[in-house]
């Protein structure tokens, strides 16, 4: 009997050892799969004259975010297949899950998706680990890129937004091109013309005026027949997305920085006296004129409140207002106008941008076909069609922005084209590029919520700066 027990124990020990063996083997294999990198770009393999049919019969897999721009792309995919013979398979995810899906997929080291949508901030996260293909060599290779693609036609700030040297604090517009501009948004003020007319208001030219205007609308609008209307819709959820639209735009117009860079070392600057004063003012504006339950507000709520005539103004992406302003889209459609928003103390209209770019998986085995897709999706023909026949507004190309048909389409929206033209050259990424962007801005949003909740701005922002100094320095 004892022998039996002993044997069983020995068997279990052996079995445990056998089970541990693959564990140890896996551990020895390293992290995240094959990290072997080639110095040469796959773009160098493309030679001869440019040919759209070069990859005929190939299938490219795309990961897309649910967005009106995506709808315009999908609606036109048949043209791409007809032009190239390349089939595109795609998955579309809602924005709440999209970036988690993309992050997990890229970090797995597999090539489930050859091409995908991303923003400039994601380049800072996905670029350093080597997950993104440098598109520069593809753009420079005339065998891979058709002459009609016309790189000079892009607004320069947009092309620069996807170009980075992968060094924290280094300015954009240098190094590899990790994403191509496809669609973008500029952050401006949209307002309900009816409530402005009834209350005898006009758009604010300074931040103090904006805060006063927001409070005034919240106070007076219900008496003017706008039951439950508040002054200004701005984002407030505990997310990086709260910082980058209206808040960062106004922050930049005040000449404020998120980090200072000295000899490649980043120092958090959101606790400087000027930044603290501005953050207090922003929180006060939200408290006096912002939405109830602001701490849960994403762009969806901001946008729908403007459309539902619950908000008198919106300081967010112009597209968030546009989709409410188009005919029949909402109770406020036909009553929404656009304005560049308040100027900074020195007259600055520096504006932060959101850019929907397209990128390629560095692990893709179909890079040549993927590049043809990116070239087509960011090309004049598709983008013009998207802007004129669909809702792919805010053109990334100057030729589309200047196109008479596009202007005719947008002219019925009061102030849209004027606002776009006023801020287009001053709209760029106002953040300092660095890999901890999402940690920094999520923590920043949490700090903003605490200040809104009544905590002292100086101590909260000092705490934030201390925390971030150890992470990004």
């Amino acid at each position: 009997m004892d022998t039996h027990v002993h044997d069983r124990r020995r068997f279990l020990a052996l079995a445990a050892g056998a089970a541990a063996a693959p564990l140890l083997t896996a551990c020895g294999a390293g992290f995240g799969g094959d990290d072997s990198k080639s110095d040469g770009s796959a773009a160098d393999d493309v030679t001869g004259s440019f040919d759209w049919k070069r990859e005929q019969g190939t299938t490219v897999k795309a990961l897309l975010n649910k967005h009106p721009y995506t709808d315009a792309l999908i609606a036109d995919l048949k043209s791409f297949t007809a032009k190239t013979g390349i089939k595109v398979e795609y998955d579309v995810f809602p924005e709440d899950n999209y970036f988690d899906k993309l992050t997990v997929d890229l970090s797995s080291g597999r090539a489930s998706y050859d091409v995908f949508m991303l923003g400039a901030y994601m380049v800072w996260q996905y670029g350093p680990p080597g997950w993104l293909e440098d598109l520069g060599p593809w753009m420079r290779n005339s065998s891979a890129t058709g002459a009609e693609w016309d790189q000079a036609d892009f607004f320069p700030n947009l092309l620069q937004a996807g170009q980075w040297s992968l060094r924290a604090g280094a300015p954009l517009g240098q190094g590899g091109q990790y994403a191509l501009p496809w669609g973008w948004e500029t952050n401006v003020v949209a307002y309900n013309t009816e409530v402005f007319r009834k209350l005898g208001l006009k758009p604010a030219e300074s931040f103090d005026e904006l805060a006063e205007l927001a409070a005034s609308i919240k106070r007076k609008a219900p008496g003017a027949g706008f039951d439950g209307m508040y002054g200004i819709a701005v984002r407030g959820s505990r997310s990086w997305a709260t910082i980058h639209p209206g808040f960062m735009t106004m922050y930049a117009r005040n000449g404020l920085k998120d980090f200072t860079v000295d000899g490649g070392k980043l120092t958090p600057a959101m606790n400087s006296p000027e930044a603290v004063a501005f953050t207090e003012d922003w929180a006060r504006m939200v408290k006096r004129g912002g939405p109830p339950s602001w701490t849960s507000y994403t762009w969806y709520q901001c946008s729908s409140d403007l459309g539902a005539e619950k908000a008198g103004m919106l300081f967010d992406a112009d597209t968030a207002a546009y989709f409410q302003a188009v005919k029949g889209a909402s109770p406020a459609s036909g009553k929404i106008a656009f304005h560049p928003g308040p100027k900074g103390p020195d007259g600055s209209l520096a504006t932060n941008m959101w850019i929907w770019s397209l990128g390629m998986n560095a692990k893709s085995e179909k890079k040549s076909a993927g590049w043809l897709f990116l070239q087509w999706a960011t090309g004049k023909e598709h983008l013009r069609k998207g802007a004129i026949t669909h809702n792919h507004i805010d053109p990334v190309r100057k030729s589309v922005a200047d196109d008479a048909a596009y202007k005719d389409k947008m002219r019925h929206l009061p102030g849209f084209l004027e606002t776009f033209e006023t801020v287009v050259d001053q709209t760029k990424i106002q953040f300092t590029p660095q890999a901890q962007f999402f940690d920094a801005t999520t923590s920043w949003a949490a700090a903003l919520q605490e200040i809104y909740g009544g905590k002292g701005a100086q101590s909260v922002l000092d705490g934030l700066a201390d925390d971030l100094a150890g992470k990004v320095g």
């Binding site: 564990l23 988690d100 701490t295 849960s296 999402f438």
Partner: protein, 291 residues
Amino acid sequence: MRLALRPYLLIVPALLLTCGILYPFGLGLYYTLFDFSASKPQPDMVRFENYTTVFTQEAFWNSAWVTVLYAVGAAAVETVLGVAVALLLHRSSLLGRILEKILILPLMIAPVIAAIIWKLMLQPSVGVVNYLLRPFGLGGVQWTDTPTGALLSSIAVDVWVYTPFVAILALAGLRSLPTSPFEAAAVDGAGWWYTFRRLTLPMLWPYVLVAVIFRFMDSLKVFDIIYALTEGGPGDSTVVLQIRAYLEAIRFQRYSFGISYTIVLWAVVYLAAMVLVKHLGKIQRRAAEVT
């Protein structure tokens, strides 16, 4: 020979299952000894540095405190309410049988969906909760805008989803209790409160404690309800350990550090489960003595 091998063959499925559980767990544990992150795909061995960093972070202690508050609060309210509902439903009637069917509905809804529904209902200006409270002069409550409000609202959603679970377990317990002690108590003229305190509750405790164990463990691991309702805000007021781990590992891509958070959470849950299960054994013995 075949006979000698049979016991070992019989344990093969269990062994495979155990390996299937232990392999990813062991791998996760191993990764916590490195500084593996998106910015460092070829990491260095840092031994226990991730754990020392976790324990020296103010954010960790804040999250641990919020997690405990949430778990204790949710499990306590669900237990009291669940037992109360079970006692009401135990009196068999047509209404009771109908209510039983309705009671199970929240359990059929994914918690994340329940949280989204409640998020809309708690919306201050258009939510139905404030609309119903308006006649009582309470229509302007900003449910999730303050730290306390956000935590209580999250617990309330948890209670809404999981109280039926406790009630169903307690009801099953009540229906399985022997009738003779209650008949004897009735003959002796014992009142309802006395019977409940001295007979029902002691005999029901093993069932209730099973429900408490499940709910407490689950509440310690909560993610979906809080993330959908508050995203961890305002500030860090509802960032429980699971949310912190998710942010670190997925959103900020500090994989090893994120896993360290989950390992610490696992240890907490494991220890709590050990204590509760040990307690369950004692209570079961005590209940057996009562019967």
